[in-house]
């Protein structure tokens, strides 16, 4: 852990000596439950009388639904009901940004896997058999599966009104600026899947008041609730959601999947209904990362100062809107990268197609752009004969820089420092002497400078890398050193934290402080979804530090408290953390008022305002001490606070100017890879990464996020893609959608900077997404360095390394 500046924005001194307070590696409250298998995930729900649901899905990516015959399914013993769109009592569509997606197909299906009917039956096998008996007659309709073609005149319309989802334009400076050195390139990012391990699952229980209780793994309880209530035709208060254990999310649970279906089935049958998607169904049951095509032109002067960046990107949004408008907005506003660029012209368009709907995934629009602009920076460095890090640091954004949107970066932006840190990070051990020295000899030198100015390959490594004991191909015995060349690559990226473009982004927290027999206890309640990232740990840490209480219970998240917003956009520690802190401060105010009475002080006595809450005591500067448990014994203090970050504003529709973002999170990566250049196989040998987190609320958890995010970026670089053909998914299984295994992930050198953001609670920055951005281009840069290939598309396939770039499809 590296702390370069003291954290700011701590209005009073936090409880020193509180075990498990902020800044400590407090253990997860759910850790032992999870390690013993006793933690209840959404797929583990069970109740007496429970029945099971299954979904009938379209096998076609675009077809008219001519007829749906449920009679055979209904006649099957053990089947309780079969529902179609006719059975949706309220709004027949749903959607995060706009309700354009049918709960169950109405007269048309627009992507393969679109739900057409749902079945409830005694057990999962009967439900599956029942679903198989639903006869749907389809009439195939013309397909549009290429996002660029979808935007061309005359393309078949996925929705009436055309296929353009959103077009964001960013215009800054002189559009016709000329530069001495110009590079351009076309890049492509494939469709990545979040591939959480716990598939979609939940249980709906009909309630006596005509409403429904839904136990669900999700990222945003209230937005689910509102969509469920609308489709059920119920007031929101009759739809109560409780978070069930979440087996990972990464964006895939932001949209509704089975929530409405479960509630429809439960209300129709009067029975609790459970659904669990299989892995195969899960690939059809949630949105994916947008595939993107990106054309960039960068211009610089001879000294490597950027003169202009022009970009034109098309994002494939698939069949329904989901969060495409926000993804497109991020790609545009962050599309020039964390650099000072005087002249910028960026166009990003989202398109409807008959591919699977795409929406949120960790990095959310910034990932695609980062791969392209960082690839461009390497290309420009090569054209200039500069080291890729030198080119980047020369143009690095700093505090006070303004984005192409005109928004001034008003807190730390340590882009150059992050790059310099990964540049000099320790190099991986090399198995045997002389192995690393390639033709240039200095390739894997101690400074990480690779081979000379272009960040070149390090030459044949010859023997097993010391780090993981593996060569490319891993355990499959493809090389004993033949063809193996080492390469080094660098990249940096940045991501907005929180919801942008004028969204009213807030959270709500309730903190209750009770005392019984001298024992002080607190509970904290919010609707913020713990999806694995460790928010529950941080919520308790904040209460401990703010109120000086050891014993803190984090209540299960549900809709009995106000909205916390989404667990996405790296925002929960910031926004719900901010709400918990604000609720604690409200509790503190009440404690001070009560203490004033006990101590015989005026409520506004400065001695009180400076008081510390530590170890269950309220300590005044002057020596006055009150046992907090006594203050709240028989009269608990409870405060519920809604807290929002400072407002943002919409982008100007023609120029894209505007203060659209709240905060940025910066990270840089250096990747060292061994590539078997003859077989096109890659083994990542080491990752070095540095990230500014503002304040590490829980350093171990912060590092865990960085490891995990980096690994998903490695996956996108080298293996992860939902492969589509004519609108159909070719690889909906973990046999053919590959995610990194333990031998695929190298040791990581992680440096964490804490440069406080004075506008944020505790100075913290959202952590989760930034590591996913630059790991992908860093790995690809390293593979390029080892192979000399252009590699303009991710994931890089062995074919691309062996035969060179294939024409983007």
């Amino acid at each position: 852990m590296t702390t370069a500046l003291q954290p700011g924005d701590v209005r009073h001194r936090l409880g020193r000596g509180v075990d498990g307070g902020i800044g400590t590696d407090a253990s997860r409250p759910d850790g032992t439950l999870k390690a013993t298998g006793q933690f209840g995930f959404s797929s583990d729900l069970w109740t007496e009388g429970m029945i099971w649901g299954a979904t009938v899905r379209s096998p076609h990516p675009h077809a008219a639904v001519v007829s749906v015959d449920v009679s055979a399914a209904l006649g099957m013993p053990g089947v309780h009901c079969v529902l179609t769109h006719d059975d949706v009592p309220g709004r027949k569509t749903y959607g995060l940004e706009s309700p354009d997606q049918p709960v169950l197909a109405i007269d048309e299906v627009r992507y393969q896997g679109e739900p057409v009917a749902v079945v409830a039956a005694d057990d999962p096998e009967t439900a599956r058999r029942g679903a198989a008996l639903v006869r749907v007659e389809y009439r195939l309709l013309p397909l549009v599966v290429d996002p660029v073609a979808a935007l061309a005149p005359g393309a078949p319309e996925v929705h009436p009104g055309g296929n353009l989802v959103r077009h964001v334009k960013i215009r800054r400076g002189d559009p016709s600026a000329r530069a001495e050195v110009v590079v351009s390139g076309d890049y492509e990012v494939g469709m990545q899947d979040q591939a959480f391990l716990g598939t979609e699952s939940g249980m709906a229980v009909p309630a006596e008041d005509g409403g429904v209780d839904l136990y669900i793994a999700t990222q945003w309880l209230h937005v689910d609730r509102d969509q469920v209530a609308a489709s059920l035709g119920l007031p929101p208060e009759k739809v109560r959601l409780t978070l069930a254990g979440v087996g990972g999310a990464f964006g895939a649970r932001e949209d509704v999947s089975l929530q409405i279906h479960l509630c429809l089935l439960a209300l129709r049958t009067g029975r609790p209904v459970k659904m669990v998607y299989s892995r195969q169904e899960s690939f059809f049951g949630h949105v994916h990362r947008h595939p993107a095509r990106l054309h960039y032109t960068h211009g610089a002067d001879r000294e490597g100062r950027l003169v202009f960046v022009h970009a034109d990107m098309v994002f494939d949004g698939g069949a329904y809107l989901s969060s495409s408008t926000a993804v497109v907005g991020n790609a545009a506003t962050l599309g020039a990268g964390p650099y000072d660029v005087p002249n910028v012209s960026i166009d990003v368009r989202g398109a409807y197609t008959n591919n699977p709907p795409c929406g949120a995934m960790r990095g959310f629009g910034a990932v695609q752009a980062c791969f392209a602009y960082e690839s461009q920076m390497d290309k420009l460095a090569a054209a200039l004969g500069m080291h890729p890090v030198d080119l980047r640091t020369r143009n690095a954004m700093t505090e006070g820089s303004s984005l192409p949107t005109g928004q001034v970066v008003d807190s730390a932006a340590p882009v150059a420092e992050l790059l310099n840190r990964v540049r000099v990070a320790p190099m991986p051990p090399v198995a045997s002497a002389g192995d690393a020295a390639g033709p240039t000899g200095d390739a894997a030198g101690p400074t990480g400078d690779a081979a000379g100015p272009t960040g070149d390959a390090a030459g044949p490594t010859g023997a097993r890398s010391g780090a993981t004991g593996l060569l490319p191909g891993g355990v499959a015995n493809t090389t004993h050193g033949e063809g193996v060349v080492r390469g080094v690559g660098f990249a940096v990226g940045f991501k907005n934290v929180g919801y942008s473009e004028g969204f009213d982004d807030y959270s709500t927290a309730r903190v209750l402080l009770t005392g019984a027999g001298g024992r002080l206890m607190a509970s904290v309640h919010s609707a913020a979804c713990e999806v694995g990232q460790g928010l529950v740990t941080v919520e308790a840490q904040i209460v401990r530090s703010e109120l000086g209480v050891d014993e803190v219970v984090v209540e299960t998240a549900d809709t009995q408290v106000g909205s916390a917003g989404s667990t996405s956009a790296s925002r929960q520690t910031y926004v719900t953390g901010g709400a918990v802190r604000a609720a604690c401060q409200a509790v503190r105010e009440e404690l001070l008022a009560r203490a004033a009475a006990v101590l015989g002080l005026e409520p506004d006595d400065p001695d009180l305002a400076e008081a510390e809450l530590v170890g269950g005591k309220l300590l005044c500067r002057s020596g006055g001490t009150v046992v907090v448990a006594d203050l709240v014994e028989g009269s608990p203090v409870e405060r519920t606070v809604q807290w929002r970050h400072r407002p943002t504003e919409a982008l100007h529709p023609d120029t894209g100017q505007g203060r659209a973002h709240v905060q940025y999170s910066f990270a840089a990566h250096r990747a060292i890879v061994d590539v078997d250049v003859e077989l096109g196989l890659v083994h990542v040998v080491q990752i070095a990464t540095a990230q500014d987190v503002g304040r590490a609320m829980n350093p171990a958890a912060v590092v865990g996020q960085i490891h995990g995010g980096t690994t998903q970026g490695i996956g996108l670089a080298l293996m992860e893609e939902i492969q589509m053909a004519d609108g159909k998914v070719r690889n909906p299984s973990f046999t053919d959608y590959l995610i990194p295994t333990m031998p695929d992930v190298p040791p990581m050198h992680v440096e964490v900077l804490e440069l406080a953001d004075p506008h944020a609670p505790y100075g913290l920055r959202g952590v989760g997404e930034a590591p996913t951005l630059s790991s992908t281009p860093a790995v690809v840069a390293a593979v390029r360095a080892a192979t000399g290939r252009a590699l303009a598309r991710v994931p890089v396939r062995p074919e691309h390394i062996v035969f060179g770039d294939l024409t983007p499809q």
Partner: protein, 288 residues
């Protein structure tokens, strides 16, 4: 669905004679996936894991007989000297959990073109011992596969064992996949050198509708080794010979484009694997 678990081989054969449509299950690593994914609903499952004899191996002279129920884990632990190519291939199968369960008989029964055991069995000219209540027969492994996921077994037949010659020389196996563990072969190649018989054996996986041999490559290499008296002299192999062998190996394949790789890549990779496995095997032969 019915579930039967015979405890003797004769009982298993009797069950299969009476219910030729029954699905046979051993390690379950293929059958259970089909059941879990709702791809198959056989009327009957016949479990072979309770037949103790099926999970044994023995040596008779120079012939190693491996019961169909022997797992990959045991092949790695117990047969790495007797059947080194098969053991290397077994080590590349899935995970420890899969290797603890999956069996050589099951691999043959599934007859996937990507089955990891198949190339080394082809390279060592293995024989599949097949039985039914009607009697038993021996099928050379290269005659065993009749198409993608199809084989010569009659509906009432079961795989009893595989026989391979005890390794007389170096054997190698290499498999290409797009991650560093847990992959189904994009393509794979096995090589067996038999200095006693002056024979060369090859096996190719995932590059044709069935696992195949590279017969011309075998013939050319064996011929050149004999002509130059190389089995005796163990001199370094001529680069042209190695390249020729690699090219012929790749030409033997009939790969397709699919979700795991392109035909062109498979053919290219096969040449690389053939060249490398030959150089490794020959180096080992030179050392010993």
């Amino acid at each position: 669905m019915e579930f039967l678990a015979p405890t003797s081989w004769d009982e298993a054969l009797a069950v299969k004679a009476e219910h030729p449509e029954a699905e046979v299950i051993a390690g379950g690593t293929d059958v259970m996936v089909d059941l879990n994914f709702d791809r198959r609903r056989p009327a009957m499952l016949v479990d072979l894991t309770r037949i103790a004899d099926l999970a044994t191996w023995q040596i008779d002279g120079s012939v190693l007989t491996i019961g169909a129920g022997v797992t990959y884990a045991r092949i790695i632990d117990e047969l790495s000297t007797l059947a080194p190519g098969l053991a290397i291939a077994s080590r590349t199968v899935g995970s420890p959990q899969i290797r603890n369960r999956g069996t050589i008989g099951g691999n043959l029964g599934s007859a996937s073109p990507a089955g990891d055991a198949h190339p080394p069995l082809l390279a060592t000219k293995a024989t599949v011992e097949v039985a039914s209540a009607r009697g038993s027969r021996s099928v050379p492994v290269e005659k065993f596969f009749t198409g993608a996921k199809r084989h010569v077994l009659a509906p009432d037949e079961l795989i009893a064992a595989v026989t391979v010659p005890v390794a007389a020389g170096p054997q190698q196996f290499a498999k290409v996949g797009t991650r560093n563990a847990m992959v189904i072969a994009v393509t794979s190649f096995a090589l067996a050198l038999d200095p006693h018989a002056h024979a060369v054996g090859t096996g190719i996986g995932s590059a044709a509708p069935t696992p195949i041999r590279a017969e011309e490559a075998e013939r050319v290499l064996a011929g050149e080794l004999a002509a130059a008296d190389q089995w005796e002299h163990r001199r370094p192999l001529d680069d042209h010979l190695v390249d020729h062998f690699a090219r012929l190996s790749a030409e033997a394949a009939a790969p397709i484009d699919d979700v795991r790789g392109t035909a062109a890549y498979r053919r290219h990779a096969l040449a690389v694997l053939a060249r490398r496995t030959l150089s490794w095997a020959w180096s080992e032969y030179q050392r010993n």
